[in-house]
């Protein structure tokens, strides 16, 4: 496909170019000479200043600032940019004739400084185009006084916060700071499908109200987006550095203003402010835990999928699931019932529930009754979620259905394999329909509807001892999941995929997430916000586990709700392939 600076397909589908170091060095050369661009004027009052920053891990680093925007570092002179937010100055420059750069946050009141050493190539990032960073804390050397013992430091304090930023470029971004090592951001202007994405982030506390934030769009463009933010004034100064989808260098500084969206609950023990990530043994400079799900997911061909299933590697509710250790037991209340579900523009499914875990189905009246194993949960009286495979369908389809027998309404997350990307990756479509059966009311033209009641909400899920997560429903079409350290409650790694959200009743919601280019699972849940528990079903195809449908179930905690509805248009739920 033609290169696009901001892809028209989801970022996890875009074939980012594997740039070489030589290509990157060539693209950086003008920026090293001229410094960053900006919409407004950059500052030049550093002229004549020499900053000697004593760092705790990288020795003493020196920058000599000359007239205009010239800076000399390590014997090389080029252009720099600087912007100050209150008393913290953010400085950035690219080292001439190299693939290296620096960003410095200098607190002029305390003389503490945090330096981000930046480079492309040589790792630890596996993609040369993905910027590496090492964070060094220290102080600006000067005067006769004692060296300060304080330092800027990683912080847990920003975990759970949300901001809607508008840069002086006019570009708007929602930043959900869901964890202390990851962020989830939504480009409201550069991307047009209202998706959120997740990326590793640094959160550094500079003062009580000033923070340094840095996001590296790992697994995608590899761009760095960083800023100093004032959490009271809701202002920022920042720098963006890296290569967009068209492999164009983006290097500019910006000022921003934010709308405060709030802060979701944190789940560390009260009094625990630690923010040191779980260490990596023998870590390389700048190495941190960056989740790369595409690299680790099973990737199967259609023939491999078909062969595995033909060999009987199929498991439908036949083994325990760690995703339902705290789940509720299946219900037998559908046994002996019969009804049909007529989906709008979709199939007519006839059902005979012959036992607690066996049903017979017929699609569009065709052929004989086919038997399938199912499980069902009655999550609210009269409202069930059940799921089964449609054996014989070419894409090994499943139906995961919420049937409200009191209302005569049904919604189906129809799952299937053989997406255009990976044969074992689950795709899904949402079907709305009505239930036809004895004693079941006819809803007429009424249907379940998509909802924004869950938009901006976050829930924790305690699936099994040690297996917990938080969902953030960040956009009308995005589900993000964040994984905590079970011992400490620090939320860490995060990822996200396509979501869909349907209101079943007041307080009862049917949600899904697709783990596209990431393990390939279709996850579904029926959330009862009155009992704060869900029941759901996972649909997955993998090399080891084969084709499976398995229970999902956990008690929930409501972590909070960001009011973000106004940022998304009426069609924002629509997703692109």
């Amino acid at each position: 496909m033609a290169l696009e600076a901001y892809p028209s397909v989801p970022l996890f589908r875009y074939p980012y170019t594997e740039l070489t170091e030589a290509q990157i060095a060539a693209k950086l050369a003008p920026a090293a000479e001229g410094g960053p661009g900006s919409k407004g004027a950059l500052e030049t009052d550093l002229a004549g200043t020499t900053l000697r920053i004593v760092t705790d891990g990288a020795g003493t680093l020196a920058w000599q600032f000359g007239p205009g925007n010239r800076v000399t570092h390590d014997g090389a002179t080029g252009g720099y940019g600087a912007l100050t937010l209150d008393h913290v100055t953010l400085i950035s420059h690219v080292v001439p004739n190299s693939t290296r750069a620096w960003a410095i946050a200098w607190d002029r009141h305390s003389n503490l400084a945090t330096v981000l050493e930046l480079w492309w190539g040589g790792g630890p990032a596996p993609h040369t185009r993905e910027i590496n960073r090492a964070v060094w804390h220290g102080y600006v050397q000067g005067g006769d006084g004692d060296a300060p013992t304080e330092r800027h430091a990683p912080t847990i304090r920003m975990e759970g916060r949300g901001y809607a930023w508008t840069e002086d470029t006019g570009l708007r971004t929602i930043e959900y700071c869901c964890s202390y090592t990851y962020t989830h951001w939504v480009e409201l202007d550069r991307l047009d499908d209202s998706r959120g994405y997740s990326a590793p982030a640094d959160y550094i506390q500079l003062t009580e109200d000033l923070y340094l934030f840095a996001r590296v769009e790992a697994e995608f463009s590899g761009l760095l987006h960083m800023y100093v933010l004032d959490s009271n004034r809701l202002q920022s100064v920042g720098v963006r550095l890296g290569f967009n989808g068209a492999d164009e260098l983006e290097y500019y500084m910006f000022k921003g203003t934010a709308e405060w969206l709030g802060q979701n609950a944190r789940f560390q023990r009260l009094g625990d402010f630690t923010a040191a990530p779980i260490p990596i043994e023998n870590a390389k400079k700048g190495e941190r835990r960056i989740y790369r799900p595409l690299a680790t997911m099973d990737k199967m061909t259609p023939a491999e999928v078909d062969a595995s299933i033909a060999a009987g590697n199929v498991h439908v509710f036949d083994r325990p699931s760690g995703m339902a250790g705290n789940g509720t037991p299946p219900s037998g209340a559908l046994a002996t019932k019969s009804f049909a579900v007529e989906y709008d523009g979709g199939p007519k499914m006839e059902y005979r529930f012959v036992s607690n875990d066996l049903l017979q189905w017929k699609k569009d009246g065709q052929g004989d009754w086919r038997q399938a194993r199912y499980n069902a949960w009655e999550v609210m009286p009269g409202a069930f979620i059940f799921g089964h495979l449609l054996q014989g369908e070419p894409n090994h389809d499943c139906h995961i259905v919420v049937a409200d027998l009191d209302a005569g309404l049904a919604t189906n997350y129809h799952g299937f394999l053989n997406t255009p990307y990976f044969a074992n990756e689950a795709g899904a479509e949402t079907l709305f329909g009505k239930i036809v059966g004895q004693g079941i009311p006819d809803p007429g033209r009424r249907r379940h509807e998509r909802t924004r009641d869950l938009l901006g909400r976050a829930f924790t899920w305690e699936y099994s001892p040690g297996l917990n997560s938080m969902h953030l429903y960040s956009t009308p079409n995005t589900t993000s999941w964040i994984i905590p350290n079970a011992q400490t409650g620090h939320f860490g790694t995060e990822w996200s995929g396509t979501g869909d959200f349907v209101k079943i009743r007041d307080g009862l919601y049917f949600a899904r997430w697709c783990e596209e280019a990431c393990n390939g699972t279709l996850g579904t849940l029926l959330l009862n916000m009155r009992t704060m528990h869900d029941a759901g079903i996972g649909y997955h195809m993998g090399k080891n586990g084969g084709l499976s449908m398995s229970p999902v179930g956990a008690p929930a905690r409501h972590a909070g709700k960001f009011e973000v509805g106004k940022y998304f248009g009426p069609d924002a739920w629509r997703t692109k392939p």
Binding site: I278, I280, R289, Y291, P293, T296, D298, S321, G322, M323, Y463, S464, P465, G466, L467, S469, W481, I483, N485, A486, Q487, G492, T493, W495, E515, C518, N519, T521, G538, H540, G542, N544, G545
Partner: protein, 165 residues
Amino acid sequence: MSENPISTDRRSFLKTSALVAAPLAAAAPVAAFAGDDSRAKLARLEDERAVEALQRKFLRHLNGTADCGEFIASSDAVDLGEGLRAIAEDLGHEASLSLADDGLSATARCSCRIERETEFTGDTTLERMARFEGLGSHRHEERAVLATQFVKRKDGWRIAGARFA
């Protein structure tokens, strides 16, 4: 002999043991007791003590690496689930011991605090992400009731079954 099994909780068991222990220490030989009834009572007390000792030994073995084979009646007698790492009797709850009328079998129930370790070896996204974060396993504590069945053989008492109720 009584038609009903003798149920003892921990306190009654200890109380009975103490009461009997003194004459035992003083007069020792079983034969010195007058009449069959006393002899039978003494035999039951000895059985109860033996069973409780076996239960304690069993718990010690579960917490260590020693092989329980010497006092397990059959290889499938013990099923305490995956990942049991530690077990301790919860002394805040009464344990109970019930000896069958014929004195050839017994059951015991005791509240325990147990620690299990779950290895996150699966392919679910959550397990993959947990492993990625460096959390390949998780230890957690549970409360459980250990139900143990005992059988008396020629060479002494054996554990015929152990499950968490």
